[in-house]
Amino acid sequence: MTAETSITFPWLSLLLWLPLLGTLLCLLWRKSAAACRYLALGTTLLVLLVSVGLAVSLETGAGGWLLFEDYRWIDAYGIRYTLGMDGISLLLILLTAFLQVIAVLISWDMRKHPALFFALVLVLETGIIGVFLALDLVLFYLFWELMLIPMFFLIGVWGHERRVYAAVKFFLFTLSGSLLLLLAIISLYLLHGEQTGVYTFALAALKQTELNFTQEMIFYLCFMAAFVVKVPLFPFHTWLPDAHTEAPAAGSVDLAGLLLKTGVYGMIRFAFPLFPLAAEKSLPVLAALALIGLFYAAWIAYLQFDIKRIVAYSSVSHLGFVILGLAAWNQTAWEGSVLLMISHGVTTGALFVMIAMIRQRTATREVDKLGGLWQSQPNLSAFFLLFCFASLGLPGLANFAGEILILIGVFSSQPLWGAIAVGGILFAAAYMLRLLQEVIWGPCCEPFDKSDLCRREWLILIPLALLVIWLGCYPQPALDVMRAPIQLLLQGGMP
């Protein structure tokens, strides 16, 4: 397999390093804000084009790696440059490429150090795509950490009032999880080396390592420490509201739409297949935490007065749903989880985009100071309504398809969990309707800028809206792509 595919054009590497090239060009042309803008847009569009091209041209229904690359890298430690893309990675990369275009467009008027800003957004894209592609554990870890620095700067430099606090909190929280992951990776590598004499960090090889239950549990916990913080699963979510709230619009879109997904992806790609026994034992705990998070975050969201915080907590709640689906451990629930990840990326990304637009017009994010937006800006409000409904799981819109699949899957294996989770949808409706009511209806608070959507904003919102409707009405193409890989992952076997 390697021999055959590695001769072909290295599409995955292209996808991975293209944004970094854009970064370099941005830094070279840092004197001109316009050049940087167009460079960033061009690069992200190119990445989107390549990934859509790949999605169309590849035989996506098949199991196994659609594309695979494997090269020598650091022989001294047996680290290899191994990239592989299956259906799940493909979907997540499509989501990444799409949301990055949105992130660039929403920051079009960035006045504060635009070159650096776009350069960091592009580095972040390389990091995220790398996480979704890497199959060598050290390579994965490198990309995993590579996401931190640009995000730290995006929050810390371009964020709102308490940006430095939020940036440091984000950095420390996520890094503390990852360092445990690093220790576990090295220990696993050493154990595998002692058993077989082959020192390698390749995922496929390390899966064959024989571990006793205690070892497996310890490793599993170390891996999960990194992933649950990123997801974030209750009670490890406390960094998220601050980071989301203080981040600039593009940062929030990337955080909610993409960074959280890397945590879930890490679980299904690495933690579960490497340590299946420990994973199986942990499922009830995961489910319990997911359920608590689902309700707790929804409840907190209901009590918030900052619209960005409401959406931030709604992310925690939705990701609780995703984890619940994983914990149910069957095909339907997993398909629902992956689908919900994609839908959540689009809807929450869209909501953060809308919040940025509202803030531009009203200069506030406080629900008390907002209201009656429909009267002055009907178009904007209509889109807001659509995305809020999508987020609360209205049938026919994006999140519904994922949630219903998760619920069906959960009911078939653990009816009790399912029964509790249904209530979560009700909670989601409560805080989302409150958000809608406070912002677009209610007594009118005069926005100081009454202009409705401009052309660039239409350009951002229409694709998002189309995608939300498409994912809600006809998710079949996405489900087809993920079916075979999920089957393989559930059987514990990877190609």
């Binding site: 650091i74 001294a76 430690y77 870890y141 490198l142 810390g156 440091v168 690093l182 090295i186």
Partner: protein, 471 residues
């Protein structure tokens, strides 16, 4: 001493004789920049010579080895000194340093450090160590108008003298026990039934104290922040990198020579490593001065390197040398940025003075941020693979507790590495425009930056080189 022996010491001779020539010439011709560049050229020639010229003898006068390991160290220290001379160009102009003396002293230091890492007998070790420590006493207080520099020089002198006393006493005890100065004989003679003889143990204890002072291990580290703060920034850079590295590299074969008898020594080192990692990290947390923070950070990093040192063997040695190189690049670069920011009457050290500087001097600030990230061990910078190597070595040799403490301290260390970065980039501008950097500084900082980035994404060649030169 015959001609062959002199030939074998060619790089060191180039450094020492070149230093003498520069010193003499400097007295006649007062052209600062010329002598600095001259010194840099000499150091580069010495490095080139050590790298390419195959010495005819394996050991010189029973005191210095000319192994690949020694040659590698000579190359690294000579390059460090060359870099120091290059980055000092404008700094020396600002502070009116005597060009000849400055260059000559640094070259002498390079010769001393190179002899120290090449030592194969205790006498050679003593001579090499004293040769560059003496030079440093002068260099620390080189800025004669600066009281803090004088204080730092005096402080280092007092601590250094005590350390020298311990070293001499330790060597004397070992000599009493074995009747030999030569490493191989002395270390073999110390062993008795797989352990150390009591006299040898006492001697080693003295040695450890001396080394603890020199590379500032906790609890012998108290001089470090004051001296680094008072010394001129380029000299602090040398002290934090090459001066400590030379001692560590000299110590590595010494410990390896003990073999299995090193059990007791290793348990002391184990304790020192833990104390140093924790002590350095926690002491660095409240710092608001860049140089003091870097001083404590260097203490903490010595702790990591001590872990690799005590593991020893191929795995530990490789991790140690790799770490030493990437740590030196980053630390030297950080001091290089401070050098480049220096004003005529003072250096910019306090965090309050660099607020918002990141957008006034983007290149140097980004370089500083990259050096700090590398020291914190964040990929894709070289510091990550340095730490990776050390944790790998520790886990492989069963020192799980050291690896866990190392991971925890790296996490905590992030706080003090992030602080200057936050101040530089995320706070509102209160800083005034400093001088724009000159070409030499940009060349040097650019190469340091490129190197830590390169070794961060492609550490393979350096790892192989390091594995090749290990004794």
């Amino acid at each position: 001493m015959n001609l062959l022996e002199l030939q074998s010491l060619l790089p060191q001779l180039i450094l020492a004789l070149g230093a003498t020539a520069v010193l003499m010439g400097g007295a006649w011709l007062e052209n600062r920049r010329f002598w600095l560049l001259c010194g840099m050229l000499l150091a580069l020639v010495a490095a080139l010579c050590a790298a390419l010229y195959e010495p005819p003898l394996l050991e010189v006068a029973g005191m210095y080895s000319t192994s690949l390991y020694a040659r590698f160290c000579t190359v690294v220290w000579s390059l460090t000194i060359a870099a120091t001379l290059l980055i000092s160009c404008r700094y020396a102009d600002l502070h009116c340093f005597g060009g000849g003396e400055y260059a000559a002293l640094l070259l002498f230091a390079a010769a001393g450090m190179s002899l120290l890492s090449a030592a194969s007998s205790f006498v050679g070790l003593f001579i090499g160590l004293e040769a560059f420590t003496l030079v440093l006493y002068i260099l620390i207080a080189f800025n004669r108008t600066d009281n803090r520099g004088a204080e730092a020089g005096l402080k280092y002198l007092v601590f250094g003298a005590v350390a020298t006393g311990f070293l001499a006493f330790g060597i004397a005890l070992i000599y009493t026990a074995t009747g030999s100065f030569h490493f191989a004989e002395a270390l073999a003679g110390l062993q008795l039934d797989g352990g150390l003889r009591p006299l040898g143990l006492a001697g080693w204890a003295m040695l450890l104290v001396a080394i603890g002072f020199k590379i500032s291990l906790v609890p012998f580290h108290l001089w470090t922040p004051d001296v680094y703060q008072g010394a001129p920034a380029p000299i602090s850079g040398v002290m934090a990198t090459a001066a400590k590295g030379a001692v560590l590299t000299a110590f590595l074969p010494l410990l390896a020579g003990l073999g299995d008898a090193a059990g007791e020594i290793k348990s002391v080192l184990w304790l020192l490593a833990i104390l140093t990692m924790l002590g350095g990290t926690f002491a660095a947390l409240p710092q608001t001065n860049l140089k003091r923070m870097l001083a404590y950070s260097s203490v903490a990093h010595m702790g990591y390197m001590l872990v690799a040192l005590l593991i020893g063997g191929e795995v530990g040695g490789q991790a140690l040398l790799f770490y030493l190189v990437v740590y030196s690049l980053a630390t030297f670069g950080a001091f290089g940025v401070i050098t480049s920011w220096a004003l005529a009457d003072e250096e910019i050290q306090e965090y309050a003075e660099i607020r918002g500087l990141g957008y006034l001097h983007p290149r140097r600030s980004s370089a500083l941020a990259a050096f700090l990230f590398s020291l914190a061990g964040i990929p894709p910078l070289a510091g990550f693979f340095g730490k990776f190597g050390i944790f790998h070595a520790a886990l492989r040799s069963g020192y799980t507790e050291l690896a866990v403490i190392g991971v925890l301290t790296s996490l905590i260390s992030l706080y003090y590495y992030l602080r200057p970065i936050i101040v530089l980039f995320m706070q509102d501008r209160s800083a005034y425009q400093l001088r724009s950097g000159c070409r030499e500084e940009f060349i040097l900082l650019g190469s340091c930056f490129a190197a830590i980035l390169l070794f961060g994404v492609y550490p393979g060649p350096l790892l192989e080189l390091v594995a090749l030169v290990l004794p």
